[in-house]
């Protein structure tokens, strides 16, 4: 099963950390990525996202695009990055994500990715 891990935090949360916390977060994040890439469970292709204020939201209504600056939702916590896990179960995905320092400093949401295949019903 594939799961996407969505990292949420307040924009600017990283800068708000102390230097010691930032260093710890960075080195732990590297170790985390390496460990679970090597176990064959963390897939390449994840990404950190730029500040939500640099993004745009697009809605097309009656063929007319309406473009607004900034994120889709007015929320304190915003999507900051994501990566994909391919592992046995939601339990295993949850257990992997508990090692992500982002889960300690902020929060990580784990969501199953829909499969394009299905079983006979």
């Amino acid at each position: 099963m594939k799961y996407v891990a969505l990292v949420y935090n307040n924009p600017g949360a990283f800068e708000a950390l102390s230097q010691a916390d930032r260093d710890e977060l960075m080195s732990e994040a590297d170790a985390y990525l390496q460990e679970f890439t090597e176990s064959g469970e963390l897939l390449s292709g994840g990404a950190a996202l730029a500040d939500p204020s640099t993004g745009r939201t697009v809605r097309v209504r009656n063929g007319v695009p309406a473009v607004t600056d900034g994120p889709f939702a007015e929320a304190k916590e915003q999507l900051a990055g994501y990566y994909v896990l391919d592992c046995e179960s939601l339990e295993r995905a949850t257990e992997i994500v508990t090692h992500d320092p982002a889960a300690r400093f902020w929060a990580v949401e784990v969501r199953p990715i829909m499969d394009t295949a299905g079983a006979e019903m």
Binding site: E38, E41, G45, E88, A117
Partner: protein
């Protein structure tokens, strides 16, 4: 067959034999496997263009052995540079033997040994699948990655991790000793079953490439059956795969939506698979100890042999589920058993049986429970409850075609009051 397909077919059949020869000669499973993979890649490029060599097996052994000795020599040179210490393996031990050496007896036993090794219980299931497909199936890392819809680097990681575990646990290259062989064979069968399952649910869109896994699982299980013709569960597994895959063409519509068993166009079923699977399971049931794969195959055979859905021999299926529940009890079996009960004794009897697993933590929140309950409630005429259960199943499934099917069933109950 095109030159490419012909070469590919031959390469996959030869892969485990070549690997067996190398491991026996050089003893290093991890490096031998890499060398064989490189030789297979070289052949996949050269053979379709230049023609298949007269002695393809010898060609592959020579190329793979050369890669391996080159690799061992450079590793040796590295060691020499690193540590001044002299005493090393005499270099003539690392020289490729002359071509005459390649004519060895058939290496059937190595295929079996490799199947056992690739599904060693010390490996994670994901690694077992990847290594089995590469070391025994002769698939490339790229092909395996495409089939599992993951990056190539991930499959490479799983294979290299598997090899590290094999090396670290000092697992010898031979058949497991008799006392543990039955248990280990069970794992081999399960790995093949998982490869099959991974492929058979996919038949359209981006999932299309995964159907290769189904044919690969069938091919490897045929191979296993050839090596162990007396094992009833290997026969049962092969029969189950054939009888399930026989319905492939009828299982989905052109747009990828799912067709339930009762509504499938049976003319599209693969009759030769049905005949072969039925014969296999009939024979196994008659002369080998009973096992869960045989029982599941027997149930699939009864479905496949009914000319119309309404001709299905449900009392017979019910009896087989009772047996299956006794020798291999688990909530998913009970769920299918409940469907059979409903078909024989009516929906309420089925719902009663299903009620016994509703609290089972192993299947709590599983969408199939809701989906089956929805079907049975629909059969019973309780449209509102059926609809609520279809909707809950649709929210819980992680498969897009299943979700679409379940939403359609739910919507149908809303439209006709």
């Amino acid at each position: 067959m095109t030159a490419r397909a012909e070469a590919e077919d031959l390469l996959r059949r030869l892969a485990p034999q070549i690997l067996g020869v190398l491991v026996r000669r050089y003893g290093n499973f991890g490096r031998s496997e890499d060398a064989v993979q490189e030789a297979l890649l070289a052949a996949a490029v050269q053979w379709p263009e230049q023609g298949i060599p007269e002695n393809p097996r010898g060609w592959l052994i020579t190329v793979a052995a050369r890669r391996l000795t080159d690799e061992l020599r450079s590793a040796q040179a590295r060691r020499r540079r690193e540590e001044a210490a002299a005493a090393q393996v005499p270099s003539d031990e690392l020289v490729t033997p002359p071509p005459g050496d390649e004519r060895l007896p058939a290496e059937d036993d190595d295929t079996l040994t490799l199947l056992f090794l690739s599904s060693h219980p010390s490996l994670s299931p994901a690694s077992q699948l990847a290594l089995t497909l590469r070391a025994v199936g002769g698939l490339t890392t790229a092909e395996i990655a495409r089939a599992f819809l993951v990056p190539e680097a991930t499959i490479a990681q799983r294979i290299s991790r598997a090899k590290q575990s094999i090396k670290a646990s000092g697992i010898p290259f031979r058949l497991p000793p008799e006392p543990e062989r039955a248990a280990r064979l069970q794992v081999v069968r399960h790995v093949l079953y998982l490869i099959f399952n991974e492929g058979y649910t996919a038949s359209t869109g981006p999932g299309l490439q995964r159907s290769e896994l189904t044919s690969e699982a069938i091919r490897l299980t045929r191979e296993l059956r050839r090596l162990l013709p007396e094992d009833g569960e290997v026969a049962g597994l092969l029969a189950l795969m054939l009888l399930t895959d026989a319905r492939r063409a009828a299982r989905t519509r052109a747009d990828g939506s799912l067709v339930p068993l009762a509504e499938q166009d049976r003319k599209l079923w693969n009759q030769s698979y049905i005949e072969e699977g039925s014969a296999l399971v009939t024979d196994a049931l008659a002369r080998t100890p009973l096992g869960p794969y045989q029982l599941q195959a027997a149930i699939a055979a009864i479905h496949d042999e009914a000319a119309r859905a309404e001709d299905t021999d449900w009392p017979q299926i019910l009896a087989l589920y009772q047996l299956l529940g006794r020798i291999s009890p688990n909530p998913m079996v009970t769920l299918n058993h409940a469907v059979a009960v409903a078909m024989v004794r009516g929906p309420w009897a089925g719902l009663d049986l299903q009620g016994t697993i509703d609290a089972d933590r192993r299947v709590a929140n599983h969408h199939r429970l809701d989906a089956v309950r929805a079907h049975l409630l629909e059969m019973a005429g309780d449209r509102a409850a059926a609809r609520a259960n279809y909707q809950r199943a649709a929210r819980r499934t992680t498969s897009l075609p299943e979700q679409r099917y379940l939403e359609t069933r739910a919507a149908r109950l809303k439209d006709r009051k």
